[in-house]
C-alpha cells in the first residue's frame, strides 16, 4: 500500500497526472511596474487596459475558494500598484485562501507595513538580486536596492515576522549566496533563491546573466549544504544530475499539472515562465471560468500525459533531471523533448547551437515601457560676457 511515507518518486508519478486543482497558483495582478528589471518574466512595465476588474478578480477568488486552493502567489508587475490591492488581499484571506505576494518593496512604507503585519495567512517576498546596490541595481534598476532594504526595515519595525527575500540567481550574484543568507538571517527573514529563465525580457538578458557551468555546480553544492533552510520553488531540479543526493523538493516540472499562472488580463498559462500563446490554456473570462480551464484545457491534458524523454532518452541522468525546464528550452529554441539549455551534462550548449532563428520564439505580451530615445546631448554653453 501507499501512504505518506512512501517514496517520493511514486508521488511524483501521480502528480504528473495532475491534481483536481493546482497546489501552486501564481497570479500576476498587473503588468504595471515602477521598475524595469532586465530579466522580468512577464516583460512588465505598462498596465494593460484589459486588466481584470476588482469584481472579476473577486469572482476568480470565489472560484479558487470552491476549488479549495489553499494559497496563491501574487505577483506582477508590481502588485501593490493596483488601487484595490489591499481589498483583494483581504478578500482572498477572508475566503480562506492564504496569500504570498512578491514585491519590489517600493510601496511598503511604515503605515502599509503595519497594515500587512496585522494580517494572518500572509507571506511577503521582497525581490533582491544582489547584496550590494551595484550588483542588484544592474539588474533591477537604479535605487532598487535601497528601496528593497527600506521595505525590509519597515516590515521588521512593524513586527511582520518572517518575510522572505527572493533572489534570482545570476552569474553576478552567485558568489553572494552566503551573504544573502546572512542578510536574511539579520532580518529574521527566510531566503528564497530561484532559477533565472530566458522568459519575458529574460530572453534578451539570459545569455549574459545565466550561471556558467562551473557556477551550476556551485549552486548545487550550496543547496545540498543549505537547502533545508532555503526555499527554491523547486526550480533547480535540472541540477540533480550533478550528484547522488537529490535536492529538497518535488523535482519535477509542475506546469499544468500542479502549477499554473493567471495573468493580469485573466489568461491562464501552464506556468509563470511561459507567457506565450503556445502555453495558453484559456482564460478565466471564458465560460466555465478558471475551473473549466484547469480541468478541460487541451494543453493541460497534453502536459499531464507521459512526456517523451526524446533526445535525453539515452542519457543516464534523465531520471534525476527530468530533462529540465520546459520554459527554458522553449525560449532558446530547443525542442521540448531536448535537453535543458543549462544541462549539466553539457548537452544544452550543442542543442542551442542547433536551434535556428526560426525555432526561437518571439516574445509575446510585451508590456515593457517604450524605449526612450535619448536626445543628442547638448554641449553646455556658458553664457556670459567675454
Amino acid at each position: 500500500m501507499s501512504t505518506a511515507s512512501n517514496t517520493k518518486s511514486h508521488l511524483v508519478e501521480q502528480l504528473k497526472e495532475g491534481l483536481d486543482a493546482p497546489i501552486c497558483l501564481t497570479w500576476e495582478l498587473t503588468y504595471a511596474c515602477n521598475l524595469e528589471c532586465v530579466h522580468c518574466l512577464s516583460s512588465s512595465g505598462r498596465r494593460d487596459p484589459r486588466e481584470l476588474t476588482t469584481d472579476e478578480a473577486k469572482a476568480v477568488l470565489d472560484e479558487l475558494h470552491d476549488l479549495q486552493v489553499f494559497y496563491i502567489n501574487i505577483g506582477g508587475g508590481e502588485p501593490m500598484i493596483r488601487r484595490d490591492f489591499f481589498e483583494l488581499l483581504e478578500y482572498s484571506i477572508d475566503r480562506g485562501i492564504g496569500v504570498k505576494f512578491s514585491t519590489n518593496g517600493a510601496f511598503i512604507d511604515a503605515a502599509k507595513a503595519e497594515r500587512l503585519a496585522a494580517m494572518n495567512y500572509l507571506d511577503i517576498q521582497i525581490s533582491l538580486d544582489g547584496t550590494d546596490a551595484v550588483t542588484n541595481d544592474a539588474v533591477r534598476g537604479e535605487g532598487s536596492y535601497d528601496t528593497a532594504i527600506q521595505a525590509m526595515n519597515h516590515l521588521r519595525d512593524a513586527g511582520f515576522g518572517e518575510f522572505k527575500i527572493s533572489v534570482v540567481v545570476t552569474r553576478h550574484n552567485v558568489d553572494q549566496l552566503d551573504e544573502f543568507k546572512a542578510l536574511a538571517d539579520s532580518f529574521g527573514a527566510q531566503l528564497r533563491i530561484t532559477r533565472l529563465r530566458p522568459s519575458g525580457r529574460g530572453a534578451e538578458s539570459w545569455h549574459e546573466l545565466h550561471p556558467t557551468q562551473a557556477q551550476q555546480r556551485q549552486i548545487y553544492d550550496w543547496l545540498v549544504a543549505h537547502g533545508d533552510n532555503v526555499l527554491t520553488g523547486d526550480s533547480f531540479f535540472h541540477l540533480n544530475a550533478l550528484g547522488e543526493e537529490p535536492l529538497p523538493g518535488l523535482n519535477m516540472c509542475g506546469a499544468g499539472r500542479v502549477v499554473c499562472l493567471i495573468d493580469p488580463i485573466g489568461d491562464v498559462y501552464a506556468c509563470p515562465f511561459v507567457i506565450h500563446d503556445e502555453f495558453k490554456a484559456g482564460s478565466v473570462r471564458d465560460e466555465g471560468g478558471f475551473a473549466h480551464v484547469w480541468k478541460h484545457s487541451e494543453l493541460f491534458a497534453e502536459l499531464r500525459e507521459p512526456q517523451s524523454a526524446g533526445a535525453c532518452a539515452s542519457c543516464g541522468s534523465y531520471d534525476a533531471c527530468q530533462g529540465g525546464c520546459m520554459a527554458a528550452k522553449f525560449f532558446v529554441g530547443i525542442p521540448l523533448d531536448g535537453p535543458d539549455p543549462e544541462c549539466v551534462g553539457g548537452y544544452g550548449e550543442a542543442a542551442m547551437l542547433e536551434a535556428s532563428a526560426d525555432t526561437t520564439p518571439r516574445p509575446m505580451m510585451d508590456h515593457s515601457k517604450p524605449v526612450r530615445v535619448a536626445k543628442p546631448e547638448r554641449v553646455p554653453v556658458t553664457i556670459g560676457r567675454r
Partner: protein, 106 residues
Amino acid sequence: MRRLLTSDHQRTVLDSRLVLDPQVALRPEPFGALAYHYGNRKLIFLKHPDVVRVVQHLDGAHTLAETLTACDVDETRWPSFERALTALTESEMLHEHRIEHQVTPG
C-alpha cells in the same frame, strides 16, 4: 507481537489520542488528499484514501490503535499508518488531544 517490537516512539503514536489541528484543511485528490496547515504553511500528501479515512476519524477520545480498528484497517498494515501519522504529527498537522483537568483552588 508486532507492537512489542516497535520502538517507544511508534508505540506512543499508536497509543496517542490524536486530533487534526483546526488550522489544517484536507482537499480530496485522486490519490488520497492534500493536507495544508494554514499556520506553518506545510503541505503534506496523504497518499492513500484509507489514510484520509483514518485521519478523518480521529476524535481525540480514542487512541490511534482504536481508530485503526474502528476503521477496519488490517493490523499487518499498521506500521505504514504509524509512519504516515508520525509524519503528520511531526509537521504539527495532528497533535495529541490533552484533557484539561480543572483544578478548583481550595
